[in-house]
Symmetry: D2
Subunit: 301 residues, 4 copies
Amino acid sequence: MILQGMFAPIPTPFSPEGEIFYDALEKNILHWKQTPLDGLVIAGSNGEWPLLSFSERVELFKACTRLSGKRFTIIAGTHCASTSETIELSLAAADAGCDAVLVLPPHYYKGQNSHRAVIKYFTDIAEASPIPVVLYNMPANTGWNLDWSIATELSHHENIAGIKDSSGDIVQIARICKNAATGFSVFAGSGSFLLPALSVGCNGATMGVANIFPDATRAIFDAFSRKDMSLARRLQLALIDINEAVTKRFGVPGLKAAMDHAGLYGGPPRPPLEPVDDTVYREIVKIHDDFKKFYEEVFSS
Amino acid sequence: MILQGMFAPIPTPFSPEGEIFYDALEKNILHWKQTPLDGLVIAGSNGEWPLLSFSERVELFKACTRLSGKRFTIIAGTHCASTSETIELSLAAADAGCDAVLVLPPHYYKGQNSHRAVIKYFTDIAEASPIPVVLYNMPANTGWNLDWSIATELSHHENIAGIKDSSGDIVQIARICKNAATGFSVFAGSGSFLLPALSVGCNGATMGVANIFPDATRAIFDAFSRKDMSLARRLQLALIDINEAVTKRFGVPGLKAAMDHAGLYGGPPRPPLEPVDDTVYREIVKIHDDFKKFYEEVFSS
Amino acid sequence: MILQGMFAPIPTPFSPEGEIFYDALEKNILHWKQTPLDGLVIAGSNGEWPLLSFSERVELFKACTRLSGKRFTIIAGTHCASTSETIELSLAAADAGCDAVLVLPPHYYKGQNSHRAVIKYFTDIAEASPIPVVLYNMPANTGWNLDWSIATELSHHENIAGIKDSSGDIVQIARICKNAATGFSVFAGSGSFLLPALSVGCNGATMGVANIFPDATRAIFDAFSRKDMSLARRLQLALIDINEAVTKRFGVPGLKAAMDHAGLYGGPPRPPLEPVDDTVYREIVKIHDDFKKFYEEVFSS
Amino acid sequence: MILQGMFAPIPTPFSPEGEIFYDALEKNILHWKQTPLDGLVIAGSNGEWPLLSFSERVELFKACTRLSGKRFTIIAGTHCASTSETIELSLAAADAGCDAVLVLPPHYYKGQNSHRAVIKYFTDIAEASPIPVVLYNMPANTGWNLDWSIATELSHHENIAGIKDSSGDIVQIARICKNAATGFSVFAGSGSFLLPALSVGCNGATMGVANIFPDATRAIFDAFSRKDMSLARRLQLALIDINEAVTKRFGVPGLKAAMDHAGLYGGPPRPPLEPVDDTVYREIVKIHDDFKKFYEEVFSS
């Protein structure tokens, strides 16, 4: 399996009572099926994985593969703090029909993250997982950067298929693109640097903003492929504000607010995450609508 | 309840097969009962809490209160990523007879940790917990610092009893001591700065090194109380190397190695943590024995 | 003046006795005149500005403009810690015939760098300088990041012509490209991310590696302009190792070693900088020769 | 020479026109002579050394030694970015009658600060300086921490007399106290952690707040010496707010504002530093007066 294309790291919908809201999930996935999205990341950072129980994650994997019905490549976020639990959840993800698992480096005991220890951790998981492992570098959340030398070494394992790098360190991403084993996928982990990532050789991306503007993110891929660098750049620069709003600035609550506004189901996050307040909601609406208007004008002309 | 004195943040013993090893736990606790320790912290960072399941933590709390038999004040580490799960585990800790719960700030979605959000998180838990909450600041692991202004504001909640501050920021600790509500306990979170922390008004400490040298840490408290500052300083300076070895430098694996050497049960950590290698083991043995020799010479003269 | 194209941030040559070595400077500049370089940055970080006296910098500016003889756009590094001294040196740079001045944000008293204070600092200098100011963001050296909102605000000043951003934060660079005033130049500050920077709209770059491989850096510009993204990418990925070797990894001493090896004059840096040792020298030679061989193969085919 | 006691890192007074204001300097020093201060640090961070020219620093050293007339131990801040200029200024400081020089680690090219390189830098200066060198660790300004292992190694040089550590890392300070050569002085670099620093063995301190409340800082030393730990703690805790106000929070402008309010000459800082605005001035006045009132009440009872 070679992973490529445009993935949405979907949020997990909760009912007002705080349970996983499967009707809303179905509504969202039915919508995404009509878009150019290539795949979904389930129970990643946007999916509030730390706030889900083990069994909730398993049920979520099952629901998503059922609702996808082969339409999407499904990457299941199976990171748990312990190696054994991560393996157990990866087995369950494979059983549920997911295509790959997304795994973070160890990060609570980050003081013990020697190069050797991190290699061993991912290798142990890759050996045990029936489906390929995708490395997940997310230093803004973990406080620890998975550097290119580790990623490159792991790229040679036959069951490690790629990396999602959300660090924003474009030189690090370029070094992985250059040095990784053939067939290893390098995914940009944010829509804010999609075009620069494509320019250095990434073959895919998972982007919060792809949940709400999949057409626009696809348009950047396509413009880049057609070598319409001017259009690609215009779209990329315009996309940053809305992507930052639903990631770094306002986090999962911001993404859910934007989805509510866009006619998808966003709903409440789980505490300690809190819904955005009215002021932030209005700001997100404005940023969303500004981008939408820009995008429509570009393609109406 | 006013928390004070000297606490050991105990490691969770695992059998060679990786299960919680209750016979070893009993052996260790029987030993600690013969020392001047005032209390135990269960399933904290040294207890590998992220690597334990919810039910394992509950069983561990029960076993520790049973084995303690009122001898120790027991603080249960009940932090989970979600507010509701933390509350649920805190209820279980109260049922198990623990005296207080130790709770970290939210830290995976640290970008959303506004002052207000962190206040709300701890307040929600304090409102729901039958036993007092102890705040736990551990930026080396969480990547986020719980600053003195938040701690001070929370100190006025009637069910928030204190803070364990492992940051090593002595000015921050001093500001908490100065500004916190009366009766709020401020605990040094490391044996490396016990004496400076006492000098600014801390009334207790939880220290990795207290697992293996409880007499020595008590001797620092006592010397400080007697105003024998010269002895207190000699002991403090000597204690740093062994305390750093079993915390920052070699982590939980280092602490477990030192316990094995000292005649307690250390045993293996859970992966991804790995036992120390032979070179590190020998270094820990040397640091341990050097301190032991120093300590015996001080008290034989 | 609109700044654009490819600039070399040249090192300041010192004789074995430690004086500025003008014969070597002449040799180097004569060489660079035969290359596709568009401009030179004098007394920047690679030029060891902190290790030069005020009068040495003035003399250096004069020598460079004389040796350039209108061939190059010359940007003079005139940052001094105080506003008044920076202005004085900028006046001298203008007198010497330089085209623009490069100025860092204040950084020793970085705790006082409010948005307003930094705006005032650059505005004061821009008001007083006879030649345009180029902002210089170099957080690896200064410990302080000049963010896109400040750069954008300053871009509207008529005597602030552009920014050299060496942060490597490609999203920040993209935001400046999007939001800056028309005609404001955005320069990549490193050859390691030239192509990604071009992809988001930069119109120039100053790159350590341009001192030794100006043809190769020009080839990336040209390939990008021709929309030969495949060649641009191959060159960019190959360029990273040698660029990192002469910047982040081995610093100015590494750049000077590479220049010595490449037939230019590198010579010794000024203490506290020390020449690279033999092991590092051999590593630099290997990285240099590997790139050279790669480059020749690309263009011989 | 063994350095010990309480030092004020004095600000450099400027006239409204921006020149060094020697009449104001004389007024301030005459005042300090009537206090229990043991020494003065000239042209340190509080002295705005980066904003002074070489010759201004020399004149300042001369004026201070003349005005002191053997009353104070005088430590001259002679750090320049280059080794040779630091040596030259250290020779001038010795000629001017200063007792020691205060030198920062290299910090612009911090990427090249290997252990070996920093050792060489300080050793070169210590070999050349006629008067002892005091190491100066100030990571908040330099962005680079001089760790205890380097300080300990340098402590064995016969012309390196001590360290001023402003890091606030009390464990690092304790390790220097434990491991440094006999006779090496360890100075706390801030009044916010004076008492903790004394508790681990520091024999002196240089503190911004000592410029305005020398009696109070002396009272902490004395209470500690008399083993009146309760009084020492009360004073230390009370001192933090005013010390932070004139250091971290409002910097040199804050210190100068407090001095103006206290009847000394503060005056304007040099740009890019700006005087505090009215709101901050009023806050500083309140913090100053609150401490003064507290202090008078303590000693009137």
